[in-house]
Structure formats: C-alpha cells, structure tokens
C-alpha cells in the first residue's frame, strides 16, 4: 500500500536548498538579531490565517510593515488592537476602517521578543526563487534525460556494430560465391520442394485444427472486447478545474471525508460544494512557489490559475476579500458511474464497514488527476464481498446475528457474503 513515489525528490531538495541559501544571504539587517526561523513558526501558527507576507488577505500584506509603523506601536497593536482603536489612535482607526471594521484578534500571549521574531520573518524580502529554481528543475530534468540518453547511445552503438557485422557477412558470402564460380566449383543446388502453404492446404486435418484454433482465438478476443464495453477502468477525464488530489489528500493530508462529507451519511459520497473549498481557499489564494514550479514543470498546470477559476465560480473577489454574489457552478466530469439499476451506499461501506476509501478508489493521494481505479463491475463487487469480513465489533446491531451466524457456519468471522451480501435484491431494486 505504501508506495509513495519520489520521482523528483532530488530536484525538490535542490530547490529547497537554494531557497534556503537565498533566504539567508538576503536577510535584512533591522531584525537580524531576531530569529526569523522562530518567527516563521509563530507566523504560521498565529498569523497565517489572515495575513500573507507579500499579498493582501483578510489583513494587510505584512512585508514592509515596520516601515509603515513604529515597533512600539506594533507591539501594542498586535497585543490588543481593539484597545488601541478604542484609545483613539488615528493610525489604528485608519486601518480598522480600511479593513471593513474587522478587528484583529488580540495576542496578549506574545512577548516583545516573539513579535520581533515574527517581524524579522515578515520583513524578509520576497525571494526570487522562480528564476533561481527553474534552471535547477531543468537541470534535474536534464540529469534524468542524461542517463536515458547514455543508454540509447550504447544501444545505438551496439545496433551499428550488428549492422556492420551483417554487412560484412553478406560481403564475405558474396565473395566466396564469386570465388567458387570462378573456380568452377559446383554449389549444391537446392531441391525444389512443394511450397509449404500448398502442403498446408492439402493437409485437411491441419486445416481443420488451425481453423478451430483461429475461431477460438477470435472468440477469445471478441469476448474480451465485449466484456470491457462499459468498463471504464482508468477513465481519466479532463476536469474544468485541475484539482490535484495529490496535493490535497497526499501532501496536505486532508481527510477524504472532510470534503466528501456526505459519504458518512448518504449513499452518495458527494462532490463538495464550493463553499467547502473556500473554507481553506479563502486564505490560500496561491500555492507555494515550489508547488507552483512543480506544477508547471511536471504537469504543465498553473495551480494559481486553477485557484482563480475557483474564485470565479464561487464569486470571490480576492482583492476586496468579499463575495460578489455572481456564481457559476462547476460542471465536473463524473468519473465513477454506476448503472442506474445498481444501488451502492457509501455510508454503509465507509462508516459501518470501515472500508478505506482507497480500497475502491485507489491511491487517490498520489493522483494528480483523478482516475477510475477499480473496474466497478459486478464481479469486482462480489469478490470483495466474498473476501471481506464484516466489521461487527462494538456494533450492537450485529451482536445477535453474528453470534448465531458464526455458530451456524462454524467460523469466527463472517464475510459480507455470509451476511447476505450476495443477494440480488440487496443492490438491485
């Protein structure tokens, strides 16, 4: 199960290293004595929900904040902004008005040193990693192609050698024959035989056998073809918004049921409505530069553009930090399509049976583009029902039936099939 691919770990490391170096080389001097690394930690845990360093979010962009305000003022503001506003501080009121009268949370737990650390972190100028990183990534990619090109060169050389050998043989043969004819040595003449195809046709038994064989073979292929009609395993349609399960479920480890929440209670897993996306994306307006670069290089996708698509659909004005009210629902392409006559209930499998989503949907956390992992055929369903034990522990519903049934079948654990999970009417009504 744990087969996480590290395709580009090398390039990632290089990139991170470079970014690290750049960070240190260009740190500004004002808060040099403060620890920007500690500040980063604090910033991410306390401030990042509303603030970004270089971009306006719920609150203002914080880069350059020490140039706009005095440090003392900042201490007061961060520790208790409401009090500062109440005290009639003009500067404070101006900001308060500017940001729709949304007060900033008070952070009395921060010491001045902590605040210094945070300020040190936010005052780091924007690194220009895109320029620096791209060649690195390219270099990495080139490195990859190097090894393959070496292979091909070796193979090409060998092929050339073989060709030369064949040519040499041919020439040798030809020269030998010339010698022979020149020396009047009679070469043995091949006896003219009946052509093999004629012999084949005349041999009726062989003909029959091969006809039968051919028929069987074509039957096999026709059957194989027909059986895959309507089975869309591997179906990987292009979606209106390039949504990466790899980033969300893999890198960020968001629980599947956070977005597909109705899988808990309903037969449908549910495609999350856009307001669920906005729970996070209200403050995540763009991805980390590294992720963006990776997206561009590996998948040819501009993740930030995808987030903009989301904003457009849900009607979010990122500059004003407000909903415009103009929405346009996203028309996703449905990947997993069960026929209408088959009833499937997610909550039964997810909540009652405790089946992992990945069991049917595959390694979603690695999928950059979602595809259909399982064949979703009836045989596939039934196999699983035959092999899977029913999760009865701690469920009062199963107590009696499990006790009686396990006695009847003489087993400790009951499979779904023994529970009646193979009956036609359980899924077809």
């Amino acid at each position: 199960m744990k087969q996480v691919k590290h395709r580009n770990s090398v390039s990632k490391l290089l990139l991170l290293g470079l970014a690290f170096l750049l960070t240190f080389s260009t740190t500004t001097t004002t808060y040099a004595q403060a620890d920007a690394a500690k500040g980063k930690e604090l910033f991410n845990s306390l401030c990042a929900a509303c603030h970004k360093r270089y971009k306006k979010a719920t609150g203002p962009a914080l880069f350059g904040v020490t140039e706009r305000h005095s440090t003392e003022w900042l201490y007061k503001w961060i520790k208790n902004s409401t009090a500062l506003i109440a005290s009639g501080d003009a500067e404070a009121i101006e900001i308060y008005e500017q940001f729709n009268k949304t007060p900033m949370n008070a952070f009395p737990q921060l010491s001045n040193a902590d605040i210094d650390n945070i300020l040190a972190y936010v005052m780091e100028p924007k690194a220009a990693p895109a320029a620096g990183a791209t060649p690195v990534v390219k270099g990495g990619a080139a490195g990859g192609s190097d090894s393959s090109s070496v292979n091909s060169v070796v193979l090409g050389l060998m092929a050339l050698v073989l060709l030369v050998l064949v040519g040499v043989l041919f020439i040798v043969n030809k020269t030998l024959r010339q010698f022979a004819s020149a020396n009047n040595i009679e070469l043995p003449v091949k006896e003219k035989r009946k052509p093999i195809w004629k012999a084949f046709i005349e041999n009726q038994f062989l003909l029959l056998v091969s006809a039968v064989f051919l028929l069987l073979l074509s039957g096999y292929f026709v059957y194989g073809y027909l059986m895959q009609v309507g089975v869309d395993q591997g179906y990987e349609p292009v979606q209106p918004i390039h949504y990466s399960h790899r980033i969300h479920a893999g890198d960020n480890k968001i629980d599947c049921k956070y977005c597909h929440s109705s899988a808990r209670v309903s037969k449908h897993s549910g495609i999350p409505s856009l307001n669920v996306c906005m729970n996070c994306h209200k403050s995540i307006g763009e991805v980390a530069e590294a992720t963006q670069a990776e997206g561009l290089a590996e998948y040819g996708v501009d993740y930030n553009k995808q987030i903009q698509k989301l904003y457009k659909a849900v009607g979010w004005d990122a500059d004003k930090q407000a909903y415009t009210g103009k929405t346009e629902p996203v028309k996703w392409v449905r990947i997993h399509n069960l026929p209408d006559f088959a009833y499937f209930n997610h909550s039964q499998h997810v909540m009652v049976a405790g089946v992992k989503c990945q069991k049917c949907h595959g390694p979603v956390e690695e999928m950059e583009i979602m595809y259909q992992h399982a064949p979703l055929t009836m045989g596939w369903c039934i196999n699983c029902h035959r092999e899977t034990n029913v999760k009865v522990e701690g469920n009062a519903y199963y107590e009696k039936i499990h006790e009686e049934l396990s006695k009847k079948y003489g087993v400790d654990k009951l499979t779904a099939a023994q529970m009646g999970g193979l009956e036609c009417g359980k899924c077809h009504y």
């Binding site: 856009l274 996703w332 449905r334 009417g425």
Partner: protein, 1031 residues
C-alpha cells in the same frame, strides 16, 4: 379452361364501360405524390445520391452508431455552489404540512429528496386528521403537472406580476358595485383575518364561500342545535354500535378521515368489536364494510331515520316503510338503546330535518362518540349565498368577482347562468393553478402555487390548528392568493410573516412557532362551559329538541319517491375533481366497481333489466356497458355509461361527481361525464329519468369476476359469535393432504417438495393484512405508486388487463346474502350437472351481497413458484424472506407470471417513460421529478412486482447499523403499511418475537392465501370477523 362468362365488379362496369376502362388504364387517378413526402422535386433531381449510395450511407451510419454506442456518455456532476445545511444528497428530509384544497383537509408529512417533494405520508402527530387518503397521497404529483399555468395572465396573455398588479389595482379602483370574493373553504384563521382587512380597505366587499360538494344542510342543522356553523365530528373508535343512514363516513362524508378510528373498533379484542348497520342506496365503502347493509332508497332513508327516532324516543312514528325495512330499523334502534352512550347514528341525507333528527338521537343516547367540543370547520360553503351571487351577477350588481380555489363554471349546476353573469361583471379574477373552465373565462388569472409551494394555516377542527409550509420553491411564476390580497391592500408584508404575526398574537399563547411548524399541528384547549351552565343548556336543548322535532319528523315521513332516485356521490379516486389532471388518481380503480378512468351510472340489476341496460364481457374479457341518457328536471346528460351494481337499492341510481372536466386537461385525462349539471339546488338526491341510449361504452376494469364463488380459502370469514366460542379449526381450518392415509397439514415439512431453509437468523419480514381493518380506501395503492415508480399505463391498456399496480385491492361479492351462504350452496352441490349449473349461478352476485376487500401484493413465498421457472435466475429469494427481482437480469419470458398463483407479477409491455404513446407524468421532465431516486425505473420487456419495499427495509437496517443499535418493532415499514391509517397493513420482523407480526403469525385469525398450494407466503391475512349479532 376458358369461359365466355363476363364478370364484372360493379354495376357501373356493366352499364358504363368507358369510365371503368379509363380507371383500368390508370389505376391511380392521381399521381402518387412522391415529391410531397420526399421533399422538393428540384432538389431531388439535382441530387446525385443514388439508391445504392443511400443504402451505403445507411449501412455506414448504422455501423458507426453501433460502434459509437460502445463509448460511454460523459456524465456531468454539478455540486451546489453553497450547499444548504440541511440538504445532503441522497438523504431524505421530511417536513410537516397540511393540505387544504377545499375538499381534502389533512395533516401530512412530505418526503423530499435533494429539495424535491416526492412522497406524502401521514402525520402521526396529528391523530385522526393525519390520515392521508388516496387523493392526498397523490397530491404530490399534481404539483409536477406540466399543464399548470406558469405565469399570471391578463386577457389570455402571459404577463409578469408587476404588470398584473398594476392593471388589476387600476381596474379594481374604478369598480362600481360589489366586489365579491368567491372562495373555497379555507378554514384558515389568518386568511379570514386578511379577508376582513381587504373588506375594510375596499368597503363594498362580500365574501361567499362555495363548496362544490355542499354540506349546507348539515351545517345549518348543527348551527341550529349547537350554535356553531360546523360539522359534527365523531370518534368511531369509541363506538360499539354505529347506525348510518346514507352516510358514507368511510368515504368522503363530511370530509372523511373517520376510517382510522372506525377500524380500531372493528378488530375483535377481548371478544368485542363494534357493530355497524348501514342503510344506503349506492353501494359505498361504508356499506361494504358494514356488518349489516340494508339497501334503502333515499326517500326510504328519511323514513328509516324517522322510524329510528321514534323507536329510540319511544314515540310512535307514522313512517310508511316496507315491513323488512321497518324491522331492520326497529332492531337497529334496539341495539342503539342497548349500547347507550357507546352508540351513534350518522346520516348523509342532505336535509336539515334529517340532520337535526340524527343529532337529536345522539343527544338522546348521550353518545360519547359524538365530539361536541371540536366541530369540523372544513366545510363552510353556503349554497344559498352562491345562488344569490349568481342572481346578483346577472342583475349587474356585481362589479368585480375574485374566484379563489373553486371552478364554478365547471362545478355549478347552473353553470350557464354563472357564465352569462360573469360576462356582466367588469373585473373577473381567477386564482387558479391551471387554465380551468373558470380561469379561461376570466380576464385576470392570478396563478396560484400548489400547497407544497405555499404558506398557510388551517383550523380543521375547532381549536386544532395546523400549518402549511412550502417544501420547494415555487416552480413557476406563481403567487398565493393571500400574497395578492396583501399586495392589493398595500401591506408590505409577505403572507408567511403576516401569518406568523396572527399566530403569535392570537393562537400560540406563548408557545413556540417553530415547534408548531415542526409538528405541523398545534392544539389549543377548548373553553368548556361550567358544569351548571352545561346542565341548564342541556335542558334547554332538550326542550328545543322536543318542540321543533315533530315538524322535522313529519317532513321526513312525508318523503316520497318520484320515479328513480339518483344519488350523486364522490369517488374515492377523484373526489370533487380538483385533481382531474392526476394520472395516479385516474388510474386508481374504484374500490367497488374496480373501474378506472371513468364515472358511470350505477343501477340495480332489476332496474337495469326493466330499462334494457346491459353489462357484458366482450371477447377479450373486458367489460362493455350500455349508454343511458339521464334527465333531471329539464337537464339532460347524454351518453352516461352504465354499470350494474350489486347492492344498489332498487329504484335508485348513483353517479359520481368530479369527472367530465375538459378545459386545460390533456386529452387522456378528459374522461367521464360532468354530473355537476344534475346537482340541482346542491342536493345530492335527484329524481331522475333514465333512458337507454345507443352504443356501448368500453370500461377499463381491473377485476372482472365479481363473486367469491364459495372459495372460502381466499377470504376466510366468520362471525363474532363463532370466533368467540369455537376453536380455530372451525373458522380457520388448515388445509390437509393425505400422507400414508393420514391427514397431514400442508404446512408440514413431510408433505413438502422442498427442503425448509433456516430463516431463524437475522431479519425475516412478514406483512400482515387484517381483513377486518381494511376498508378498501386505496391509500396504499397510491403510496405504492409513489414509492416504487409504478408507471401509469392509460385506459386502453388497463382495459387489456395490463395495469401495473404492484398492490391491488380485490373486492369480492357474495352470491347469496352472505359468504357463508355461498359456502353452503357450494357444499350442497350434488353431482356434475348440479355443480355445472350451480357454479354458473354462483358467478352472479346477490342483489344485496356481502362485500370483502383483500389487498393482494406479491406474497413473497418462501417456496416461490416463480423462482423455479425463471430461466435466467432473475428472480430469487433473499434470507430476509423477500422475493427479489433483478430487472437488469430479466429477459422477459413471463414464465414467472404464468406460474404465479396470485397473479401479482406485472410485465412492462411497453416503455412507459419518455414515450409519447403514454403521455403521462413520466413523459415530461417536470413529471419525472416525482420519481423516487432509490428505485429503478423499469424498461420495456421486464417483469416487475412488489419488492416489499426493499429500499425501505435496507434503509432502516443501514440506519441501525450506523447508529450501532438494535432495531425496534415498528421501525420497519413498507409504503403500504406506512400509508395505512387503519392499521390493516402491518409490517415487521417475525424473528423479533416481540413484534406485532410475530404475534399475529401465531394468532388464531392468521391464514395464508391459497395455503394448500404450499407456497409458504410471507404475507399473512387475518380472518374477517363480522358482528352479526342482532339485538
């Protein structure tokens, strides 16, 4: 072989050969219009496509289409942008609301899926008013009717509300003369208040309430005696003796809804059950359920009531009754007196005297069944005021008329006068949801939403309030009548806010509005008078009774029939015709005649013979009937089909109201004749002249045989006396077979072909049907339609016996006076000749037969004959006892249906959805919104049948598993058991020994249908017990 004989084909050929010669040369006198059906000639000539090319293209495109078919379609999934909190796709929400369409009033629960209402269920919190009948169950489909009006209209043109309001306000301000509101009964406190406010804004307003089926006389009688304009309400659960004189209280009498209470008293408990005596002319549901039914013509009914009064009071009443009727009345009176306060008399005679007398008898008996505290307020119509309005309109006294929720052009007997009056009114406004007869003649049509899209409140019984709340946003540009009124009086409020204010200020008394909205009902305490006052009043009443009653009795005893007497009634399916566009209701068979898609004249056999009217079965088995012309006074109704109804009182006839609507309906729905034209003076009894007319009517009956023919193993019946005193084998014998010359019960494993399967583990579902409690109301049939996406097939298919009902309610008549008599006749047959003629006679129903109803659905046999014959194993058995049907596996051999002894399997002869040949709700996007997403919509060529609502049992199990708990009895339900307000159908798990069905399985009354076949069904029936004991 040559011959000189000349043959000719016609006289013309012999006499004038030139013309014939010309014809011979040119067989088609005109050129075949090839161009016409192939298109433009020039284009055709220019085209280089030869026939061979054409065939090539056809071949290629067929091949391409075949290949393309292998590609799956791209399915889109569009989530909400902002998902409403309470909506989870795939999970149903329930809302309590109330139907109040002027004819049906009931508290209901509405099941919605993804925001669409898909099913109506009873609101158990509401008690008696929560029992939804067939029409209420079907009302959800009426919302998805694509013939509804989609925008407001002015002068026949669509407009928007802004324009509409402007034009209407302008016109109304200029009105000279009265402004009349002609409305249905709202029984709504808020609407009453609002109409009052409207009246104070426009000073010359009068409000006329009109019920298309009038209760004016009963209202007047109640008002005279109790001082409240309402209808007497009864709780039949408390009754030991029920005597009904012409009141079909299990049908639509006084709004109906009495069946739940009635049925509770009908189940024998501790050796007791109620006794029900019915005097009536038409065969009704109440008569069919009665212990004793006496066919009585309407004029005789009055005499019977007078006689009853006399016997109860101890007066001698000068009633001129035939001896048997007099005897019956006497016995009924004795029984009434014997049971005293547990007895009740009800009457459906639309006559104030008769109603007063019935109230007087109940008063004398001190009947506790009668509920004096909470009269019904659901019928407020005043026939006299409506008649006065028509006169005023014709006299030009009316300046504006606002018609709300009623269709007087269709339903008034003097509709022509109304139409001529309407033309003299300057401003005519119709508040209607479809372009009905009245809306078509009105200048303004304010489209109203369905009740599932509306707000409102209803006071069904005094002090019993209920709320109407929308369960979906209005589908079209509609606006409630009340909102339009608010607009007209210039209030800034919407009706929901207005109503909330009214509730907070005058109804709730501090209770929570949200709680009331959640429950759907809110009950306030009744202000009872103090004891002393009560006593004095009683004395007053007593004296008032004695003084005025002599005249009432005299007027009753003077009643005489003039010729045939016609009783107009409303059918179970159609009611007053509000939902004529509803295909479920049109296809719901009448419980008694079993005919769908029609109304008809019911006559007795004797009268039919004397009038020359006939019913006959034609070659394909379907029923045909004569036409008759029915004349009342000067009004003639042509081409009324006739059905000969066993039990119809000689000298009487019946005809259902509510049919024959034409305007704004699809052609398929325009069935029947409009009997409202005969409803003179709003009297449901009319003297009538019936003449045979030419032609034959084709009926669509779902059951053709009438009688049980002594087959007591289908419906087992006994009397209360035998049930109480004798052992089970006498009234509920187990069929026996001989094994080694030993009588062995057929259920014994020794005589079974099959091995028994162990079903003691897990759930094992059983459905129990109590024949004593089943009144035949048909609510279960419609609920089954809604739950299981059962298609509607239309009249001609029903006539071919291709109806798709998964659940039918068989009706059997006895051939003798009782079913017991049938058995005796059958047992008395001696020899072949006797039995041949005897069985023939048994096929004819008695003049006054006993009637039994039997709901039959798939019996889910444990040893199912259908399963063994399926060549593809499409039908198989589950461990939980259900017989499964996998539609996608079925290839349509129909072997299973042929092998089913119960005839419950239904075959899809056609594609019933998205097929223009079956233009019902499944043929349009709007109508398909009612489809239950959990149940497959079947396609052509597959068999289907009752699944015991597999989707519902699975849902219950899943919910319990998710909560990790054991399932309690009563949690398992099917659509039919859920819809059954009488408790006749109960469903549950027999492996749960505490469950109702497990107990009834062991009960003395339990039997299985056709037990001797050895199918071991999972549907139980409970023997019908009749209380035949006379006083």
């Amino acid at each position: 072989m040559s011959s000189n004989k000349k043959y000719w084909k016609s006289v013309e050929e012999l006499s004038d050969s030139s013309m014939v010669e010309a014809l011979k040369q040119n067989e088609f006198s005109e050129d075949i219009p090839v161009e016409e059906f192939l298109g433009d000639k020039e284009v055709l000539d220019e085209s280089s496509t030869s026939r061979r090319d054409f065939l090539k293209y056809v071949g290629f495109s067929t091949a391409a289409a075949t290949l393309a078919a292998c590609e799956g379609p791209v399915v889109k999934a569009i989530p909400y942008v902002v998902q409403p909190e309470q909506i989870v796709p795939g999970v149903a929400n329930y809302y309590a609301t109330t139907i109040a369409d002027g004819f049906d009033f009931a508290n209901v629960l509405v099941k919605t899926r993804e925001g669409r209402p898909i099913k109506i269920e009873s609101n158990r919190l509401a008690g008696a008013n929560g029992g939804a009948n067939a029409r209420v169950h079907a009302s959800v489909l009426s919302m998805y009717d694509n013939t509804r009006l989609k925008t407001p209209q002015v002068g026949g043109k669509s407009t928007d509300w802004v324009g509409f309001d402007k034009q209407l306000a302008a016109k109304l301000s200029k009105v000279s003369g009265k402004i009349v509101l002609l409305t249905q009964t709202f029984a709504s406190p808020s609407t009453s208040k609002l109409i009052g406010e409207f009246a104070s804004k426009y000073s010359n307003v009068s409000h006329v309430v009109y019920d298309s089926v009038s209760n004016s006389e009963a209202l007047a009688a109640y008002e005279q005696v109790y001082g409240v304009r309402g209808l007497a309400d009864y709780d039949f659960e408390k009754a030991s003796t029920i005597v009904s004189v012409g009141a079909d209280f299990l049908g639509d009498w006084q709004g109906g809804g009495y069946d739940a209470g009635y049925a509770k008293g009908r189940i024998p408990q501790h050796g007791k059950m109620s006794r029900h005596v019915q005097f009536e002319a038409n065969m009704t549901l109440s008569g069919a359920n009665a212990d004793k039914r006496i066919p009585t013509t309407p004029s005789q009914q009055k005499q019977v009531l007078a006689a009853l009064y006399g016997y109860v009071m101890g007066y001698s009443v000068n009633a001129s009754l035939p001896a048997p009727l007099n005897e019956a009345a006497k016995k009924a009176a004795q029984q009434l007196k014997a049971t005293g306060s547990k007895a009740v008399v009800v009457t459906g005679i639309q006559d104030k005297d008769a109603q007063v007398i019935a109230l007087a008898i109940n008063n004398k008996l001190g009947s506790k069944v009668f509920n004096a505290e909470r009269p019904k307020l659901t019928s407020q119509g005043d026939a006299a005021k409506v008649s006065a309005l028509v006169a005023d309109m014709n006299a030009g006294k009316v300046g504006a008329v606002l018609i709300v929720g009623v269709n007087p052009v269709y339903s008034l007997p003097n509709s022509k006068e109304f139409v001529s009056g309407l033309k003299k009114v300057a401003v005519t406004v119709s508040f209607a949801s479809s372009n009905d007869e009245t809306a078509a003649l009105c200048e303004f049509v304010a489209t109203t939403p369905h009740y599932l899209e509306s707000w409102g409140d209803v006071e069904i019984n005094k002090g019993m309030y209920s709320l109407v709340q929308p369960t979906i946003r209005p589908l079209f540009k509609t606006r409630q009548f009340q909102d339009t009124l608010l607009q007209l009086i210039g209030s800034g409020l919407t009706y929901d806010a207005y109503m909330k204010n009214v509730w907070k200020s005058s109804i709730l008394g501090g209770a929570s509005f949200n709680k009331a909205l959640h429950d759907g009902v809110f009950k306030t305490a009744v202000v009872t008078k103090s004891e002393t006052e009560d006593a004095s009043e009683e004395n007053e009443e007593e004296s008032a009774f004695t003084s005025s009653f002599a005249t009432s009795v005299r007027s009753l005893t003077s009643a005489k029939a003039k010729g045939l007497e016609l009783t107009l009634y409303t059918k179970t399916a159609m009611g007053s015709g509000n939902q004529a566009a509803n295909p479920w209701l049109q296809e719901l068979p009448d419980p008694l005649t079993r005919a769908s898609w029609d109304n008809y004249l019911t006559v007795s056999k004797a009268d039919a013979e004397s009038l020359g009217l006939e019913n006959k079965n034609v070659a394909n088995g379907a029923l045909n009937g004569s036409y008759a012309t029915v004349t009342v006074g000067g009004v003639k109704l042509e081409n009324v089909p006739v059905i000969i109804q066993p039990g119809q009182a000689k000298g009487s006839a019946g005809l259902a109201l509510g049919y024959g609507r034409k305007q704004g309906l699809k052609e398929e729905m325009q069935v029947g004749v409009n009997a409202f034209s005969l409803y003179q003076n709003f009297n449901n009894v009319q003297s009538v002249k019936i003449d045979k007319a030419a032609g034959e009517h084709e009926f669509a009956c779902v059951q053709l045989q009438k009688t049980l023919m002594g087959r007591g193993d289908i419906i087992k019946e006994t009397t209360l006396e035998i049930f109480n005193t004798k052992d089970k084998p006498l009234y509920n014998p187990m069929p026996m077979v001989s094994l080694d010359h030993q009588e062995t019960p057929v259920t014994s494993p020794d005589v079974d072909l099959w091995d028994e399967f162990d079903r003691s583990i897990g759930h094992h579902f059983n459905l129990s049907i109590d024949l004593n409690a089943c009144t035949g109301c048909g609510a279960c049939v419609v609920a089954c339609h809604a739950e299981n996406n059962v298609p509607v097939v239309g009249k001609s298919e029903v006539r071919r016996s291709r109806d798709m009902h998964w659940l039918r309610i068989d009706r059997y008549y006895s051939s003798e006076e009782t079913f017991e008599g049938d058995n005796e006749t059958k047992d008395g047959f001696d020899g072949l000749g006797d039995s041949l003629s005897g069985f023939g006679e048994l096929e004819v129903a008695s003049e006054n037969p006993q009637v039994a109803f039997q709901p039959v659905m798939c019996q889910h046999c444990n040893h199912a004959p259908c399963e063994t014959v399926c060549p593809v194993a499409a039908t198989s058995h589950g461990k939980q006892g259900q017989n499964h049907m996998a539609y996608n596996r079925c290839v349509g051999t129909r072997y299973c249906a042929n092998n089913c002894p119960y005839k419950v399997r239904r075959f899809n002869w056609f594609l019933y959805n998205q097929n223009d040949e079956f233009d019902f709700h499944m043929n349009n996007d709007l109508g398909r919104m009612v489809v239950n997403p959990d149940v497959t919509v079947r396609s052509r060529g597959v068999m289907e049948k009752c699944s015991m609502c597999m989707q519902m049992t699975q849902k219950t199990i899943l919910d319990a598993k998710r909560d990790g708990r054991v399932i309690k009895d009563g949690e398992f339900q099917t659509a039919c058991s859920n819809a059954c307000s009488t408790g006749a159908i109960t469903f549950g798990d027999v492996n749960d020994k505490s469950s109702k069905v497990a107990k009834s399985l062991e009960g003395d009354r339990m039997y299985h249908l056709l037990e001797h076949v050895g199918t071991k069904p999972n549907v139980q029936y409970q023997v019908k017990v009749r209380n035949t004991k006379e006083a």
